[in-house]
Structures are given as structure tokens and as C-alpha cells.
């Protein structure tokens, strides 16, 4: 008898556990049209900069990882809390996650450089970037978060760990609306909530 994890749900694993960067990128469901247009426009006097602003769990990292897939020469760097790290000298564009942790000198040097910047940040750097002569586009990480989009994101996650074409659990519209009411734009908290639900799910059913 095969003893495989979550086979009773026709899944390979709990879909609301932690995914690695590759899996997250594949699952990213973000609208990047405006961002790509802005980054690819290179006016002679203004180097573009893009800011993705949002609180914890709103999807800043997902935005950055998705954008990176559109640029084969991109460099992505995440600044851990309480640490100062070296900024990669190569890579175009340069994507910086948790950019609010850049040191003052790094900020001055980077903002005035000719490199295209994509910043995932809690803090709005619009004015600083403009003073450095850049054209700035600021996007709210949660700009498209609606119950419908949440339903799609959650169900895409479940489908990504499907074992075969048999049925799998489905997050219903009603549940997506309830989660939106409970957690707002915080997708990470919704995932944590659903992790426990799926740990206790005995058979394939609507959630």
C-alpha cells in the first residue's frame, strides 16, 4: 500500500505550507504590465525606478521574484533584518527586497547610479528617488487584492501540488470572502489559517 503524504486529498503536500522561491515564482499571480512598461522605458535623462510598497505578507517579494523572471540579467538581493550586505555590482535591473534596510550611504550611492532599480519596501522613497533624477513608479503590493483574486491565488496553490487529474479540495468564494474580511490583504495570514484547515481535512471536499 503506497503511503504518500496527503494522498487522501490527492495532493503531494499541504498547499499552504512554506514554498521556496522557485515555487513562489511559478505561482505568482500579479499584474506586471505597468511595471514592465515603466522599467523598459529608458528616457535619456531619467533612469527608471520602481517601488513595490506594502506591509508584511502583502506580496512584495512575490512581485519582485516575478519581475526578475522577465529580465535574464537581473540581480535580486534580500536584506536581512539587522544586517548590512554588499549590493551586487552587476545585474540590470537591480531588485532589492526590504530596501528600507539600505544604509544611508548605500541609498545615496544607488539612487544616484545609472542602474534601473526595483525596490520592495515598507517605506516610500519617491521623493529621494526623484531628487536623484529618476522617473518613479510606485505600486501598492495589494492593489488588486479582492476576494475573487484571493480565491484564485489560493486555488492555484492547491492545484500546484495536485497528484493526478482526480478531484482536489477547492476553496469556495464564500471562504475567500470570509478570509478577506478576517485578514484583509494579508495573504500570508490566510495561508497560515488554511494550513491548519488542510492538516485536519479528512477527505476531498470544498473548504
Amino acid at each position: 500500500m503506497a503511503s504518500l503524504p496527503f494522498i487522501h486529498l490527492n495532493l503531494r503536500r499541504n498547499p499552504f505550507g512554506e514554498f521556496d522561491a522557485e515555487e513562489r515564482t511559478q505561482l505568482a499571480n500579479v499584474e506586471l504590465g505597468l511595471a514592465l512598461e515603466h522599467l523598459r522605458s529608458r528616457p535619456q535623462s531619467h533612469t527608471p525606478a520602481l517601488q513595490i510598497i506594502g506591509q508584511k505578507g502583502y506580496g512584495k517579494t512575490t512581485h519582485l521574484l516575478s519581475l526578475a523572471t522577465h529580465f535574464p540579467d537581473a540581480s535580486y538581493v534580500h536584506i536581512p533584518e539587522g544586517e548590512s550586505i554588499a549590493i551586487p555590482a552587476v545585474g540590470e535591473p537591480l531588485l532589492i527586497d526590504e530596501a528600507q534596510r539600505l544604509t544611508l550611504w548605500q541609498r545615496l550611492w544607488l539612487f544616484r547610479s545609472r542602474r534601473t532599480l526595483v525596490l520592495g519596501t515598507h517605506r516610500d522613497f519617491t521623493q529621494h528617488l526623484k531628487w536623484a533624477g529618476r522617473s518613479v513608479l510606485t505600486l501598492d503590493a495589494a492593489r488588486h487584492t479582492t476576494p475573487e483574486r484571493i480565491e484564485k491565488i489560493l486555488n492555484d496553490r492547491i492545484k500546484s501540488v495536485r497528484r493526478n487529474s482526480d478531484s482536489i479540495p477547492v476553496v469556495t468564494s464564500a471562504t475567500a470572502e470570509k478570509l478577506f474580511a478576517m485578514y484583509g490583504n494579508d495573504l500570508r495570514s490566510m495561508q497560515h489559517h488554511l494550513y491548519d484547515v488542510f492538516q485536519n481535512l479528512g477527505s476531498v471536499q470544498d473548504v
Binding site: P5, G17, K56, P72, E98, R188
Partner: protein
């Protein structure tokens, strides 16, 4: 549509392999459209999944196809054989899962690589080299980081820098000094107060590397310096999962207690001045397949916490870290319970046993290898000729447990014949009587249905036979099963779910 269809099949339908065994299978690749490929590779590795960030082992890679153009309609087939590692074994908990994977990737330049991944279950097999017989200290099974050899001068410089940093921090954090003094003072006063009542307290554990089902004698000894009342003296065995997700400000550590077992060493009452308190208890270590591991973001840790619970006074506590490993990792060191002896498994009442010096040592002659537990000889019987095997057709499942056992006897160690017999019996319900050897929690059983995962497992012999069986029961039967003791006969209706090759015994589940 994907450019390729990839499938991975294993040579064993149950996908169960033991550490050190060869995992064999076949990769099949069907090319749907002409694809320029940088090669096709097979990767074998373990990784965790669940609530925390994923930890993984170093991958073994095999190139199946060198870079070339894959033609539409091309069908390729590659048999593979890889050696399974000795650890970590498969674990399926609540926050953490460890699984072993075989993955096949078609490397397509500038496009998403088609890939497929299948997991197999790794059970304890060969003993890791790190287990040399030492059972008094925890053995690190994780890969060690490279040690930096800075030399004595380098060390002096590093220590000097550290000391300077500490002084600098102390100078700037002087305002914290009163708080630090209060905390340190409280700890010191508590320690002194406890010592004035309890004197020196000795705790005893036979060894910290333990295997499930081992008998394990723990104790506590002290001579009170005052007369006082205790609520109880107990030891609490705890297994706890820990999983860390995210990083930086998003970093969160989740914890989940897998098992908590409280063993009373002494009930509440008065402890007299200068009257020696010397309590011991032999517990049978829980049979849960939850072995210790410590990875960077995921861990399962076992501890035993001793506590002297004193009313209206700080409690005396002592925590000992344990390492629970599969019995197979201990080899000849395993101290298995004697099946005929009356073991005090999961004793919850106080019972003074032999003093520390008199606890009988286990001699190698009584240590038995796992396969002898099931009453089988060490050398496997020869396979009977295939033509002598009588295997029921799908339409004629064995009607009674006796008939099933007789068929299994004739199949001997021929696993394919045995599987056929078990498949034929799978839909039947058999009434059986089991002479109980032990009853343990089913937590950690990797293939238990959700209703059964918090239930109990009864292990014993089918009455009137020499054949062993393990039967999982649902959580709803826990209270009923707790009343059974070793040697009691338990009757139930069961369905046969498989065969445990390691212990050579039937596996079943209570039919609801």
C-alpha cells in the same frame, strides 16, 4: 500543453525502501513537440515540507540524456538505480514532513523546464557510521560546517575583539544594569532557597540516545534538609516539532507538541527531614516513529523534564535533552524489552524499583536484532518453488484469518506472492483475537488515515498462532484500549492493510 510528458515508476508498488537499499525504477519520457534540450537529468534528494522553510539534503544527479534536440513523438525509457541514504528517515508530522524524492528535469533553454517528481518512503535500515556505540551523548546527524583554522594567535585576536565588544556594549547599556541585577538576583535566591530544602538533587537517565519501545529506567534521589510537602515528583517526556518560516522581520517560529507523557515518580505528600527520597521508574519508550532531527529551519526535539512540584514555593526542575533514533541505528546496542517479562510500560503511578546500583545491566546475549522480535529466525527460509504456491484469485479471498495465515506461510518470503494474497484479502473483514504485547500511540505512522493518526496501535500475536500483527485503531477506541495489559486478549474485526517486512508481521486496521 507541456513539451514532454514524464513519468517515474518505482519497482516496489508500496514505494517503501530501507536505508542503504537500492531504489530502482524507470523514467519514461514522451516528447510532445520538438524541443531543444540542454539535457535530461535525474535528481535524488530529501527535503522537508510543511509550515517551515524547506531544508534539503545534497542532491545526487544522474544525466539521462546529453544536450540534444528531442524529436516530437520520441519515447525514451531509462531504468535507474540509486542507493538510499541511511537518514533522515521519512517523517510525517504536523508542522514538518521529511520526504525523499526522485525528480526528472528536462532542461529547456529560456523556458520553464518540464519536470516531474515522485516521493518514496525511507524507513530505518543500515546504521549511520556516526553511531559507534556511544549512547551517553547526542550524535549530530547533520552535516558539520567547515571549521576555520585560525591558529592560536588568530584565536587570541578574535577573543580580544569579542571582549572589547562586550565592554563597549556594557558601557552603552548601563541603564539595563538594574534589570539584569534583579533577574540574576531572583535566579540566585530561587536556587539557594531550593537547595536549602532539597539539598543536592541527582537525576538519573540510563542513556540519552534512546530507541522506541526500549525499557528505560529513570530516577531521582535527594535527602531533604527540611520537612515539607510536595504535590508530586514527576518526569515529563516531551517531543516537540519546531518549524521556522520566513526570514528577517517576517521570521516566525511555530512549535507543536507531538507527544507529552507524564510519569509520576512519587505522589504528593510529606517529605521528612533527612529521609532519603530515592524514586525510580521503568518506562517503555513510546513506539511513535518520531525520531529526533535538527535541521536549520525544522527540528523534532525530545526532552525529559524532571520536576519537584512544591506548593507555594518555586518548583525544582531539570531538563535533559534526548535523541530518539530508530532501533536499527543501535544494532547490537539495542536493549529491547523481553517479550515474556512483565514490563511496566507507561506507568503513571509511583513505584520504587531497584536502587541505582542494582538495576540489572543488559548483557549482549539478551540484546536481539529487530527481526527476532517477530519470532523469526535470523536466516530467512528459502523461497518455495512458485508452482507450489497457492494464491487465491481476486474472486476468492481467504475466508478466515487461519486460511490467510496458511497462504502467507506457503508464500514464505516471496514478496510478490505475498502481495497478491494480501491484495485478495484487502476487502475482507476478519474477526481476530490478539494476545497483546504492547499498545502504543499511532502518531507518526506515515500511512495512517486521519481518523487513526491519533489513535492507538495494538501489537501482539494472533491467538493460537505464532504470527505477529499490528492493528491500528481509531482515536475513539483509545479509552477502551488503555485498559488492556500485556498478555491480555483483545478481540476485534479488522481489515488487512499490508505487511511489515522489517518485523515480518501483518498490518491491519480496525474495521469500523
Amino acid at each position: 500543453m507541456s513539451k514532454c510528458q514524464i513519468s517515474i515508476t518505482f519497482d516496489r508498488s508500496d514505494r517503501i525502501y530501507y536505508g542503504g537499499e537500492t531504489v530502482r525504477g524507470t523514467v519514461r519520457l514522451l516528447v510532445d513537440e520538438q524541443t531543444k534540450s540542454n539535457g535530461v537529468k535525474l535528481t535524488h534528494r530529501w527535503k522537508t515540507h510543511g509550515r517551515g522553510n524547506s531544508d534539503s539534503g545534497l542532491p545526487d544527479e544522474i544525466t539521462l540524456v546529453e544536450p540534444r534536440i528531442l524529436q516530437a513523438g520520441e519515447q525514451l525509457e531509462f531504468p535507474f538505480a540509486i542507493t538510499s541514504p541511511s537518514h533522515p528517515v521519512t517523517y510525517r508530522g504536523h508542522l514538518v514532513y521529511i520526504d525523499h524524492y526522485v525528480r526528472v528535469d528536462v532542461d529547456v533553454p529560456w523556458a520553464k523546464n518540464p519536470y516531474t517528481e515522485e516521493e518514496y518512503e525511507l524507513r530505518p535500515g543500515i546504521r549511520p557510521e556516526l553511531f559507534t556505540g556511544e549512547r551517553n551523548k547526542v550524535v549530530s546527524l547533520t552535516a558539520k560546517t567547515a571549521e576555520t583554522n585560525v591558529g592560536p594567535i588568530g584565536k587570541i585576536i578574535l577573543w580580544s575583539i569579542l571582549a572589547l565588544l562586550l565592554v563597549a556594549v556594557a558601557m552603552t547599556a548601563l541603564f539595563l544594569l538594574p534589570i539584569i541585577l534583579i533577574v540574576v538576583g531572583f535566579i540566585w535566591v530561587k536556587k539557594k532557597a531550593l537547595k536549602s530544602r532539597l539539598g543536592e538533587v541527582e537525576v538519573s537517565v540510563p542513556h540519552v540516545v534512546v530507541a522506541p519501545t526500549e525499557d528505560w529506567t529513570i530516577g531521582i534521589r535527594f535527602t531533604p534538609r527540611k520537612s515539607f510537602v510536595v504535590n508530586s515528583i514527576y518526569a515529563e517526556l516531551i517531543a516537540e516539532e519546531s518549524a521556522t518560516s520566513g526570514s528577517g522581520t517576517n521570521k516566525t517560529t511555530h512549535k507543536h507538541k507531538v507527544l507529552t507523557e507524564k510519569h509520576i515518580l512519587r505522589e504528593g505528600g510529606l517529605l521528612d527531614l533527612e529521609a532519603l527520597v530515592d524514586e525510580k521508574i521503568t518506562i517503555t519508550f513510546p513506539a511513535a516513529n518520531a525520531y529526533s532531527f535538527e535541521l536549520s529551519d525544522n527540528s523534532l526535539k525530545w526532552t525529559i523534564n524532571f520536576c519537584i512540584d512544591i506548593p507555594g514555593f518555586p518548583d525544582w526542575t531539570h531538563t535533559e535533552a534526548l535523541q530518539v533514533v530508530p532501533l536499527e541505528f543501535l544494532g547490537e546496542q539495542a536493549r529491547l524489552p523481553n517479550a515474556s517479562a512483565d514490563s511496566s510500560s507507561t506507568v503513571f503511578s509511583a513505584s520504587a524499583t531497584l536502587p541505582f546500583e542494582q538495576v540489572p545491566a543488559f548483557s549482549p546475549s539478551v540484546a536481539v536484532a529487530p527481526k527476532t522480535i517477530a519470532g523469526q529466525g535470523m536466516s530467512p527460509p528459502a523461497l518455495p518453488p512458485a508452482e507450489h504456491l497457492s494464491v487465491p484469485s481476486e474472486n476468492t479471498p481467504p475466508e478466515s484469518i487461519e486460511e490467510l495465515l496458511s497462504l502467507l506461510e506457503s508464500a514464505g518470503r516471496n514478496s510478490s506472492q505475498r502481495n497478491l494474497i494480501l491484495e485478495a484479502a484487502a476487502d475482507e473483514v476478519y474477526d481476530i483475537a490478539v494476545v497483546v504485547d504492547r499498545i502504543s500511540t499511532s502518531f507518526g505512522m506515515t500511512d495512517a488515515a486521519p481518523d487513526f493518526s491519533n489513535g492507538k496501535t495494538v501489537i501482539g500475536q494472533i491467538a493460537g498462532t505464532q504470527r505477529s500483527i499490528e492493528v491500528v485503531a481509531p482515536e475513539s477506541m483509545n479509552s477502551e484500549l488503555e485498559s488492556f495489559r500485556r498478555g491480555d486478549t483483545w478481540q476485534s474485526s479488522v481489515t488487512i492493510t499490508g505487511w511489515d517486512s522489517l518485523y515480518n508481521r501483518l498490518r491491519g486496521a480496525v474495521s469500523e
